[in-house]
C-alpha cells in the first residue's frame, strides 16, 4: 500500500483540544466534561485539576522541589530513605496499622525521590477519598520514623544497593553521574551507598522532612471523580498544615565534566554496557524543542532512528540503543546507551560516535525532519489516554514551569521547528561531540581512533 502522510494538521489540533477538554467524547451520558482547572484552596494552595466522572477513581500526583539534591554531602540517599519511611507509621498508627488502613480501602500511597523532586502518588476509589486524604495527611505531617522501621527499611535499601552492584546499567549510570558532576549534588547517588545509608539517623529523617515538605515548593495535580469544592477541602486537610516555606539549600548551575574521558569498569559479563553523555540543553532553553526533534532523528523512541538502524538493524550489535535529552533543574545533558558483545563494543561505540558527528555536521534530511515532527505531534495524544497519565502530565508541566496552556502550544512549537533551528541547536550541544563514556563489562581493547 502507498505510504500515507500523517493526518492533516487540524486533526492533531483537535486531538490536543480533546486532551485538554479531556473525555468530551465520553460514552457515559452523565460524564462531566473535564478541562484543566487551576484551583485555589481556601488555604491558598494551587491545584491543577481535571474532573472526570467516567470512572469512580481519583489520581493525585504531587511533588516538592528539592529531592535528592538536598541530601547532605555525606548522606546521599537521605531523601530516598525518607520517601520509603513516610508510609511506615504516622500519628497514632504504627507501620503495620498504617499499612492495614491503606489496604482495607485499597488505597495506593507511595513516595519517591529523584534528583530534583520529592514525589507522592495516591490512587483511590472515589468513595474512599476521605480515608485516603486522612492517611496522606498523617504521613506528611506526623510521620513516626520509629527505629524498628528505620532498621528494616535500611536493610531493604542496602540489599537493593548490593543487588545493583551487579546490574551493569546501574553501575554505568552511577559512575557517569559521579564523573560528570564531581563535588556537586548531582554526582551523588540518589539511593545512596553502603556507607551513607548506614549512617542515616532518625533525627536526619525528621530534619529532611521539616526542611523539604512545605507549601512553598509544592505542586499538585488531580484527575478524577470529585467536586472541586470538596477537593479543595481535602487538599487543605492534607497539606495546609505543612510549613509555609521550605528551607532549601541553593543548588549551583552545573555542566557535565570529564568530557572526552572514556572509562572501563570491570564486570565479568558477556556484554559491555555503554553509557555516554555530554552537554545538553535545559528544558527552558529556546533551542530545546529543535534539539528534541534532532535527538528523535538520532536516537529517539521509534524503530526508525539512525542509531537503531545502524547499530541494531544493519549490524545486529545490540538489542537496545538510544539517546535522549536529560533535563535537570540545574543542568542539561545529552545522553544515551547500548549493551553489546564485549568483542565488538569498540565498534558499536565508534558507530554511535560517527552518527553523532554526522548529524551534528549535516543535520537531518528534510524527510527525516518532517517525519520526526509528524511522529512527535501525532504521538502526543498517547500521553493522555488514562487519568493516571493526565495527572502525571499536569504535574510535569507545573514542575517544568511550562504554563497551563502548554498542551495547546506544544504541537505548534514542534511544527514550527525549521532545519535552520535544528542546525543551530546541533551546534550548541553536539558540535564538538565530546562525550564522557562509561563502559561496564570486559570490552576488547579499544582502537586508537576513538579519541573521544
Amino acid at each position: 500500500m502507498p505510504l500515507r502522510r500523517a493526518a492533516p494538521r487540524h486533526s492533531f489540533l483537535k486531538g490536543i483540544a480533546m486532551a485538554l477538554a479531556l473525555f468530551t467524547a465520553s460514552s457515559a451520558a452523565d460524564a462531566q466534561v473535564g478541562k484543566i482547572e487551576r484551583l485555589k484552596t481556601p488555604a491558598g494552595i494551587e491545584v491543577w485539576f481535571v474532573r472526570d466522572d467516567t470512572l469512580p477513581i481519583l489520581s493525585i500526583n504531587f511533588a516538592f522541589d528539592g529531592g535528592a539534591s538536598q541530601d547532605p554531602a555525606d548522606r546521599a540517599g537521605l531523601a530516598y530513605m525518607t520517601a520509603a519511611m513516610l508510609d511506615e507509621g504516622a500519628g497514632e498508627l504504627n507501620a503495620k496499622a498504617f499499612q492495614e488502613r491503606l489496604e482495607r480501602r485499597a488505597i495506593s500511597l507511595s513516595y519517591n525521590a529523584d534528583r530534583d523532586t520529592f514525589r507522592g502518588t495516591v490512587r483511590v476509589l472515589s468513595e474512599h477519598r476521605d480515608e485516603a486524604f486522612e492517611l496522606l495527611r498523617l504521613s506528611l505531617n506526623t510521620p513516626r520514623f520509629e527505629q524498628e522501621a528505620i532498621d528494616r527499611i535500611r536493610a531493604s535499601i542496602l540489599a537493593a544497593y548490593r543487588r545493583s552492584l551487579t546490574n551493569p546499567d546501574e553501575v554505568a549510570g552511577l559512575r557517569w553521574f559521579a564523573q560528570a558532576f564531581p563535588n556537586h549534588p548531582y554526582g551523588r547517588s540518589v539511593k545512596g551507598d553502603e556507607k551513607s545509608i548506614s549512617g542515616v539517623e532518625r533525627s536526619m529523617l525528621f530534619d529532611y522532612a521539616k526542611k523539604n515538605l512545605a507549601r512553598s515548593n509544592l505542586k499538585i495535580a488531580v484527575v478524577g471523580s470529585i467536586e472541586s469544592a470538596e477537593l479543595a477541602r481535602l487538599i487543605d486537610h492534607a497539606f495546609a498544615k505543612l510549613p509555609a516555606k521550605a528551607d532549601l539549600a541553593e543548588i549551583p548551575e552545573v555542566k557535565p565534566q570529564s568530557l572526552g574521558r572514556r572509562e572501563v569498569v570491570d564486570l565479568n559479563i558477556p556484554q559491555t554496557t555503554i553509557t555516554f553523555g555530554g552537554i545538553g540543553l535545559k528544558r527552558k532553553d529556546p533551542d530545546f524543542m529543535p534539539a528534541f526533534v534532532l535527538n528523535h532523528v538520532l536516537g529517539g523512541g521509534s524503530f526508525s532512528s539512525r542509531l537503531y538502524r545502524e547499530v541494531r538493524e544493519k549490524r545486529g550489535l545490540a538489542y537496545s540503543v538510544y539517546s535522549y535529552l536529560a533535563t535537570l533543574d540545574h543542568s542539561g545533558m545529552f545522553m544515551g546507551g547500548t549493551s553489546t558483545r564485549n568483542d565488538r563494543a569498540a565498534e558499536a561505540l565508534q558507530i554511535i560516535e560517527q552518527e553523532i558527528v554526522r548529524i551534528a555536521k549535516d543535520g537531518p534530511t528534510a524527510e527525516e525532519l518532517a517525519q520526526a515532527k509528524s511522529y512527535l505531534t501525532g504521538s502526543y495524544l498517547l500521553h493522555f489516554d488514562t487519568s493516571a497519565k493526565v495527572a502525571s502530565q499536569l504535574l510535569e508541566i507545573q514542575l517544568q514551569e511550562l504554563g497551563i496552556d502548554y498542551f495547546e502550544r506544544r504541537n505548534k512549537m514542534v511544527n514550527a521547528v525549521t532545519a535552520e533551528d535544528v542546525r543551530r541547536a546541533a551546534k550548541r550541544f553536539l558540535a564538538d561531540s565530546k562525550l564522557l563514556v562509561i563502559m561496564v563489562g570486559r570490552p576488547a581493547p579499544l582502537s586508537k581512533s576513538n579519541g573521544g
Binding site: L267, P270, G316, R341, Q371, G378, D385
Partner: protein
C-alpha cells in the same frame, strides 16, 4: 521491539502486581464476535480520548516449539518486522513512526502478540498492515542473520549478564521435567544460534493464520465500527492452516523436592527462591486458582503479608520476602516464594523461617479479615484497570490465548469474592508441598553451603 512477555520474567514485578492476571472491570461493554475465517474479535470501548489500542494475539508461544528449536516463537516475533510481499522491510514501522503511533510485540510461553497504539483516524491503516503480515511475511537471510545477532544480545542482556536471572532460568528448567514450560522463552543460547530463516518460515506457516488469532480493539471504537473494520480488513485474510489442539506433554505427579544453588563471584546480595508446580486458571477446578491468587497475597503480597510480617518485621532475618502466582497459563503453572537475608542470617536459617510461615498457614489457616483485605485490593484493581485501555487489552488477550473466555474474565471478581478462608488454607495445604517444589540459592563464593560443593 520485542519485549519478552509480561509473564516471562520470573519473580519480577510484573508477576507480582495484584490483579494483573485477569481482572474484570464492572460496567464495561465488552463485545465478542468471530469472522468467517475463524478470527476472534474482542471490542473494549473507552471513548474518553480518540486513541485506539490495536492488538493481534496468536495462540502460539515458546511451549509450542519443537524440541531443539527453543527460542523460535520469539525469534519469529522479531522477524515479523522484516516486511511482506506487499510492504517491504521497514515500511510498516516507518508509517507507524510517521503517524506518531507506538508499536511493539511480545512473546510468552503461550502466546505471541503484536500491537500499535494510534489516534483513531490512523486505525484502519495499521490494521491493514497487521492483516497483511498475518500471512504475507517475506524473509531473506540478509535481514534474518543480523536479527539473530540482536536476539543473542537480547539474551545476554536479559539473562547472561545477571546471575539471578540465570538461577530463575535453571529453576524453571528443573521444575518442569516433561512439559516445555521448562525451556526459556528466549531460548537456550546454543539453540538460538542454530535458528534459520527456514525454521522461522515453517513455524509461521504452521501457526500464523486467522483461525489461530485473537484481534483486540480497545479504546475509541464501538462494536459496530469494529465489526465493519474487522470484516473489511481481516475478513480478507485467508485461513492458511488448520490448527491442532494444543496438547503439550503433561507433568507427572512430582515426588521429589529438588534443590540447586548458583554461586557467582558477581553476587553481592544472596537470596533464595522456590517454585511450586500448581494449577493455572485453565487447569484448576472449582475455586482453586482464585484461592491460590488470594494465598499469594496473604502469604507474600506486600507489607502486611505473613512472610513480610514474620521474616522482615518480627524476626528481622530478611531484607525482603514475598510470593507470587502466575495464574494465566494454559498448563500447570508456578507459584513462587522468595526472600533475601539480612547480613548474619544464612540462607538455610532463612528458608527454615519461611517454611515455618507456610506450614502455619497450611496447618492453622488464615484469618477471615486478611482474606477480606486481599479481596478488596484485588477487586479494586479491576476498577483501576479500567483506566487504561492497553491494560484491558492485555488482560483479555492473555485470557483468550491461555484457554479462558471473555466471560470468565467478567466473572472473575465474583469468583474472587466467593473464596472462603478454608479454600485458601486448602490451597496452601494441597499445593505448597515441598515434593512439588524446586528451591534455589543464589550465593557468593565465600558463603559456601552444602549444595554448592556438589
Amino acid at each position: 521491539m520485542s519485549a519478552i512477555a509480561i509473564c516471562a520474567a520470573a519473580g519480577s514485578a510484573a508477576v507480582l502486581l495484584p490483579g494483573t492476571a485477569k481482572t474484570q472491570p464492572q460496567g464495561l461493554q465488552v463485545s465478542e464476535f468471530k469472522l468467517a475465517n475463524g478470527l476472534e474479535v474482542v471490542v473494549i470501548p473507552d471513548r474518553r480520548t480518540p486513541v485506539v489500542t490495536h492488538m493481534v494475539w496468536y495462540r502460539i508461544g515458546s511451549a509450542d516449539e519443537t524440541p531443539g528449536k527453543s527460542g523460535l516463537a520469539h525469534f519469529l516475533e522479531h522477524l515479523m518486522f522484516k516486511g511482506t510481499e506487499k510492504n517491504p522491510a521497514g515500511r510498516f514501522s516507518t508509517v507507524v513512526a510517521t503517524i506518531g503511533g507506538q508499536e511493539n510485540a511480545f512473546t510468552s510461553q503461550d502466546y505471541t502478540a503484536y500491537f500499535q497504539r494510534v489516534t483513531k483516524e490512523n486505525l484502519e491503516q495499521v490494521m491493514t498492515f497487521e492483516a497483511d503480515r498475518m500471512t504475507g511475511l517475506r524473509l531473506t537471510d540478509e535481514v534474518v542473520l543480523p536479527e539473530r545477532e540482536v536476539v543473542i544480545e537480547e539474551r545476554r542482556t536479559r539473562t547472561d549478564n545477571d546471575p539471578a536471572a540465570q538461577l530463575a532460568e535453571a529453576l524453571s528448567a528443573a521444575l518442569y521435567v516433561n512439559h516445555p514450560y521448562g525451556r526459556p522463552i528466549i531460548g537456550w543460547m546454543h539453540e538460538i544460534r542454530q535458528l534459520s530463516r527456514e525454521n522461522a518460515l515453517d513455524f509461521y506457516k504452521r501457526f500464523y493464520t486467522p483461525n489461530n488469532a485473537v484481534l483486540i480493539l480497545a479504546g475509541d471504537i464501538d462494536d459496530k465500527e469494529a465489526r465493519e473494520l474487522a470484516e473489511k480488513i481481516y475478513g480478507k485474510v485467508p485461513r492458511v492452516a488448520e490448527v491442532a489442539p494444543r496438547a503439550r506433554p503433561v507433568e507427572p505427579e512430582p515426588r521429589a523436592h529438588r534443590r540447586m544453588s548458583l554461586t557467582d563471584q558477581r553476587v553481592q546480595q544472596p537470596s533464595m527462591s522456590r517454585y511450586y508446580l500448581v494449577p493455572s486458571y485453565r487447569t484448576a477446578t472449582g475455586n482453586e486458582a482464585e484461592a491460590l491468587e488470594i494465598l499469594s497475597h496473604v502469604l507474600g503480597g506486600g507489607q502486611t503479608s505473613r512472610l513480610y510480617s514474620a521474616l522482615v518485621v518480627e524476626k528481622g532475618v530478611a531484607a525482603n520476602a514475598g510470593s507470587w502466582y502466575q495464574g494465566t497459563a494454559l498448563d500447570a503453572t508456578r507459584f513462587g516464594v522468595y526472600a533475601s537475608p539480612r547480613p548474619g542470617t544464612t540462607l538455610e536459617a532463612l528458608e527454615a523461617a519461611l517454611d515455618e510461615v507456610i506450614e502455619q498457614v497450611a496447618k492453622n489457616g488464615v484469618e477471615a479479615e486478611e482474606v477480606e483485605r486481599v479481596k478488596t485490593r484485588i477487586i479494586a484493581s479491576t476498577i483501576f484497570s479500567q483506566d487504561n485501555q492497553t491494560t484491558l487489552a492485555r488482560i483479555y488477550g492473555a485470557a483468550l490465548t491461555t484457554g479462558l473466555t471473555a466471560a470468565s474474565v467478567k466473572e472473575w471478581p465474583a469468583k474472587i469474592r466467593s473464596v472462603t478462608p478454608a479454600e485458601v488454607q486448602a490451597a496452601a495445604k494441597n499445593w505448597l508441598d515441598l515434593r512439588r517444589a524446586v528451591t534455589g540459592y543464589l550465593l557468593r563464593p565465600q558463603q559456601a553451603s552444602p549444595e554448592k560443593r556438589t
